[in-house]
Amino acid sequence: MSALLEVRSLSKSFGGLQAVKDLSFDVSEGEIVALIGPNGAGKTTVFALLSGFLEPDAGEIALRGRSIVGLKPHAICALGLARTFQIVRPFPHLSVLRNVMVGALARHPEPREAAARAEAVLVEVGLEARRAQAASGLTLAERKRLELARALATEPAVLLLDEVMAGLNAAETERIVELVLGINRRGVAIVLIEHVMRAVMSLSRRIVVINYGERIAEGVPDAVANDPRVIEAYLGDTAEG
């Protein structure tokens, strides 16, 4: 069986620092996979490798069986893999609608169609009331949703979400969880990096845990949460015995 996204023996180091080491995992059609690990574990580096912003030193990444290693980010996006940025990067002086349109133009070169598509996405993420505002005037929660909306507007098969819930309150987090589930129900596979464990547990069917760039555990949420290696990675080395 070939998965939608296959990652094999991925490695990347910066100088002497091995950020990602021999990492392998799969994402199947319509799946939600969480990528978790302590700060500095290499999660965001993995996203940068998958989306073409960084090139791996070794390893293979295949989308629908086609290698995407060495492709530019825009080409990878065209093949159906979109990402959000952990530090949101809206186009601050452009309107919310225009922000999303830039994503929609990838599949709809005609501005009129792209605008219609962007409107639909804004309704889906609940930002339609902000459509005419400059993106710089949005709250953090709204910016996170805008980040999501833009990526969604490129109509991806796989969506990489980098901490879209960080810094949000409980109610806002709940809304994003609902939104992500809704997107997933339409058949979009999702890989998410997240520190909000409640969200990770309720969203993902499978969790990949990495530490120092290496996969230390993988499995269903409950199993992973009770894995001693995971607990050790998060809480530190416990005393012997």
């Binding site: 989306s51 065209a78 186009f91 452009l94 609608l97 219609a116 339609e128 009331a129 400059a134």
Partner: protein, 347 residues
């Protein structure tokens, strides 16, 4: 009717009046207006790469020079009419623009480094032109006056007025078209955040390169006007940094990345330059107008960082989102005014 529409209507009215003006004006006023249009044109051409795409080229004189020398030399030495030489000059400039763009964008030069690259190429052109005797070397290249329209030469200076006006309208039409298409939307987005664009499927390298090629092509065409308006080309002037500054400063003062910014900027600066040049020259203060430029630029950066045009729009109660983005009612084709959250401008 929203304010930008009022401004647009006003602009149209002005356009209708402009063709009639030379019959009312004295020759000095015709000259000043010719310069307003020509620098407005150059500013508009620069606006594509510098304003919309936000890639600050400070070497656009290189394209004027290449276009000017190409058309002049082809006309004088090969008998090719400058009306065609103009296209050849444009193409050569576009080729040069492609080389500069390729080097700059392929190797990811941003900000100051791109500025330096463009300046370096303009200087390189200046040195080459100064040392090739076939095109006059450092002494310059002189065009024999024939007064024949086929040679892009006119007895009546009002002809230059109309041609410069035509150039400005042409470039503005090109920019207006670009603005409404995916290409233009990508340009403004690239100016805002290039990495985010890449993530959203924008081939930023190709888009920037295309912007550079279109911009340098238009600028190169302007070289023909430059050559046959002045009848002499000096490498240190036509490829010089001062000309590059003249090109850049108008759109910045008027509003870089906006459709009317370069024109507004030229209407402010060109007469000012002309008058202060004449005034300072009388007092023996050659170059004094550059001091005026400097002061004006400081004032604009301090008080109107987006330029004069966005300020005019806001002054009238309209809203302006960033350079290049017109108020919301104009952002999307089927934008209905007054939807929730969208405060529309006064009608």
């Amino acid at each position: 009717m929203t304010l930008p529409r009022v401004l647009l209507a006003a602009a149209l009215a002005v356009l209708l009046v402009l063709p009639a003006l030379p019959s009312l004006f004295g020759s000095y006023a015709v000259t000043v207006f010719t310069l307003i249009f020509f620098y407005g044109f150059l500013g508009q051409a620069w606006n594509i790469i510098g304003g919309y795409a936000g890639q600050l080229s400070a070497g656009h004189a290189a394209f004027v020079g290449v276009g000017a020398y190409a058309a002049a030399v082809l006309s004088q030495d090969a008998g090719l009419t400058p009306w065609i030489g103009m296209l050849v000059g444009g193409l050569l400039s576009a080729a040069l623009g492609a080389v500069i763009g390729y080097l700059g964008f392929r190797f990811g030069l941003r900000g100051f480094y791109f500025v330096l690259l463009t300046v370096a190429f303009a200087e390189l052109c200046r040195l080459v032109a100064s040392n090739v005797d076939a095109i006059g070397g450092a002494l310059g290249y002189y065009i024999t006056f024939t007064g024949n329209p086929r040679h892009f030469q006119f007895q009546d200076s009002r002809a230059y007025y109309y041609i410069a006006l035509g150039f400005m309208l042409l470039a503005t039409g090109v920019v207006a078209l670009i603005e409404r298409r995916r290409f233009g939307m990508y340009l403004t987005a690239i100016r805002e955040d290039e990495s985010a664009c890449e993530a959203l499927g924008v081939d930023t390298f190709r888009v920037k390169l295309l912007a550079m090629v279109v911009s340098s092509f238009l600028t190169g065409m302007g070289g023909t006007f430059y050559a046959f308006y002045l009848f002499s080309l000096q490498p240190s002037t036509v490829f010089g940094i001062p000309l590059s500054v003249e090109i850049v400063i108008r759109p910045i003062v008027g509003g870089a990345g906006t459709l009317l910014g370069p024109i507004v900027g030229s209407f402010i600066l060109s007469p000012l330059a002309e008058l202060s040049r004449a005034y300072f020259a009388k007092g023996g203060w050659i170059g004094g107008h550059l001091v005026v430029y400097g002061l004006l630029l400081i004032l604009v950066v301090l008080f109107l960082p987006q330029g004069a045009y966005p300020w005019l729009v806001k002054l009238g109660g309209g809203r302006f989102l960033g350079g290049g983005l017109r108020p919301p009612s104009d952002t999307s084709p089927q934008d209905g005014a007054g939807k929730a959250g969208a405060r529309s401008g006064p009608s």
